[in-house]
Symmetry: C2
Subunit: 442 residues, 2 copies
């Protein structure tokens, strides 16, 4: 009884994670409502929406950030993106390290929860490694982009734009300071390559990055790393091919472009939907099948313990493998000479079910509150859930109630649907089992 | 090696089931193309479409059956519906019983596959019981409807209409001989009650009906029966409430009706989508949220071993239970003091995954082939997959390629997605297990 009472009094990691995000959103909204943050008046709801979008690294916006925000407002946005992206927990620990304070066991548990790490021991080392890696990559990318942009914008502006877009890309936020996002750079290979590499690295998951850094050959990699690397390559190739083939003859998108630009835009719009959310094309002009494929990609998302949301690529792969192994009358899924526990399959099932439920539930509410046609609305909800930030162009038409609903979707998408439900549900750790009974399914 | 070879030569139950449906569709299409079957010329594709729709008890139609078909054509439709609905296998065995031929072990295996029955012993008894039950219910309902319709149509026409609509309702086919389906009977309580009871009984699954007949108290029922009965009541109450509340103020549907008609129409359109497919409202006029709820209901469907398709209500319940038990850190789902095997959970996962894949895949193809807006198209595909037959009114606008695609969806929906994939995949029955490795999900 004594230990039970003590447990209840301390907050659980899911509560801490959710609370930290809420705190960031609260402070951010106050800052963005300051007169020095914007060039024109914005409503509280609009401020809340854009701050939630930045903190959850989504990138949806009800106004054009480049023209509406002052430098101060843009810096607030950048800080929120960096905090929300590389993870509040890493951030908190980084400050603790800088202040040379002792990191308590409790704190390490939270970090463990954030990064899915199994042993508490390696956490501090992991955090240091991550921060070093993040800063090196961001610095290098900023250097490249600044040099590339100096001829167009001059040194000062080029540096500022580079810092903002590198932070936005690495954290998979998808915010850009140009009124048409990155459509103006559709034909610019440097911008396309630098930004896409940034969001692919940021979205693949820090455990994968660490694994690749520490073990040099494919064979030594963990199953998770192999799955993420091979899975990312396969799903990106498929996605690029789909965009290319489906939009090939669409004059509103890539139809009238020369072949090499068709390929570059298809590449960018193939890899971007699994959480980055930048666009070099107008999604309102795309064909319905491309929109459908994009929605599936947004729902799947990228890697666990990354700047990405969605159900995650590994969850998707586990479900596909489990389905195949069932059809082949094998009980446990297998890949690369390793078996996956049924526990992991059930976890993937739970994640996907809750995620589908959340998307359908909020889409349902939005069809009630909004007078917007179905497909753009569905696209918006999936985009918010996957914290992607792509839109068919309806974000600014959404009502105040709708904006609050989308904020909730982005928040749930970012903290993860399981985190939310672990907060809401009490575990039932009793040791009995009822007798089995047969249920006919399908 | 010897047994392996012999196994491959005999056809497996999934192949027999799929083959029987294809044979019925083939013969049906030939019959419907006979000049005596229709009042006007119909194309081969249109004949194939309506025959597939009837055999798979869907109810989608590219022409108005009441005015396009002759009595001969309508009888062909009725026979196809009865065969496709109560199951080709039962039908085949019934004929064997009538001819007093010995039913081979092989035949009984096929029936076992059709009805999910575990012991081969009780199959013949079960089939007799089912046929007696089906005929009694259909006769009684025909009697009631004929008496009710005599004042309007006269005896002969009333009897004929009753037989057709009773067969269509019991088999969950959703075909009606009136140009507006059942909209003309929206305010007729007898028609509403008789037809809805028929399709609810037909859709709950024969094993459930048998279980209820044999065991008088709730406590004695199997877990499957309890799940189906309680689940059907709960999902129907929720569905009715949704239709009522969402359409309450819609002048194009129930908005201008008196309260009791509002309730009756909501009742009918709440219980119909989970596979019956009759409509007393025009779905083209419904609100988007009602359409979304209806799509979810159509995807879920009714009972296993019934005239219904969809993933099945039990599959849906098992997935919801598994998700909850995972969140409460229990490994196996529980209900009514019984545990459900993880095997059943994985089976449900496989069914749902394949079903979602099939719906998304064919919807994708249709967005490429058709110039119809997204929501009506998605509604049509889900309706075909659940062999429901509701439509937002676009069936006759679909291209020839689109019709063939929808035929494939109806066929897969009716034989069951697992049946299809068991035909396509070879089992891998080897006895080893790789070492486990951790995968981070979600
Ligand atoms: K994003
Ligand atoms: K039907």
């Amino acid at each position: 009884m004594q230990t039970l009472k003590r447990k209840r009094r301390t907050m659980s990691p899911p509560v801490i994670i959710a609370g930290s995000f809420l705190f960031l959103i609260f402070v951010g909204t106050l800052l963005l409502k300051l007169p020095i943050a914007t060039t024109t008046h914005i409503s509280w709801i609009d401020a809340l929406f854009v701050v939630t979008s930045a903190t959850t690294v989504t990138g949806l916006s009800v106004f054009d950030p480049g023209s509406t925000l002052t430098i101060f407002g843009e810096v607030v946005l950048m800080v929120l993106i960096q905090c929300g992206g590389i993870g509040l927990m890493t951030f908190a620990v980084a400050i603790l390290i800088l202040l040379k304070k002792k990191i308590g066991f409790q704190n390490r548990i939270y970090i463990q929860e954030s990064f899915n790490q199994n042993s508490v021991g390696g956490i501090i080392k992991l955090v240091k490694l991550i921060l070093t890696f993040v800063l090196s990559v961001q610095l290098f990318a900023t250097l490249v982009l600044t040099i590339h942009w100096i001829p167009t914008f001059g040194f000062k502006e080029a540096l500022y734009l580079s810092v903002f877009h590198v932070i936005s890309a690495f954290n998979n936020a998808g915010f850009a300071l140009f009124p048409d996002n990155l459509i103006g750079f559709a034909h610019d290979p440097i911008v396309n390559i630098v930004l896409s590499l940034l969001f692919i690295i940021g979205g693949i998951g820090f455990t994968v990055v660490v694994d690749i850094q520490q073990k040099k050959s494919f064979k030594q990699w963990s199953l998770h790393t192999k799955m993420m690397v091979v899975g990312t390559i396969i799903i990106n190739v498929i996605a690029i091919a789909f965009v290319f083939l489906l939009e090939y003859n669409n004059p509103a998108t890539i139809g009238s472009m020369p072949l090499q630009d068709k390929l570059m835009v298809s590449y960018f719009q193939g890899v971007s939907p699994r959480t980055a959310g930048f666009n070099t094309l107008n999604y309102g002009d795309m064909e319905d099948p491309t929109i459908l494929v994009t929605m599936v990609l947004m729902f799947i998302g990228a890697g666990s313990a990354s700047t990405a949301s969605g159900i995650k690529l590994t969850t998707f792969i586990v479900i596909v493998l489990a389905t195949f192994s069932f059809l082949r009358k094998r009980s446990e899924p297998e890949l690369f000479g390793r078996s996956i526990r049924l526990e992991t399959v059930i976890r993937s099932l739970a994640i996907s079910t809750i995620s589908l439920f959340i998307v359908c539930f909020f889409l349902f509410l939005l069809t009630v509150t909004e007078k917007i046609s179905f497909l753009p609305l569905a696209f918006e909800v999936v985009s918010a859930f996957g914290t992607v930030g792509l839109s068919m162009g309806i974000t600014s038409q959404i009502s105040d109630v709708g904006e609050v609903l989308l904020c909730m979707v982005m928040f749930i998408g970012r903290i993860g649907p399981l985190t939310l439900f672990f907060i809401l549900m009490k575990p039932k750790n009793v040791h009995y089992r009822y007798p089995y009974d047969q249920v006919f399914t399908g």
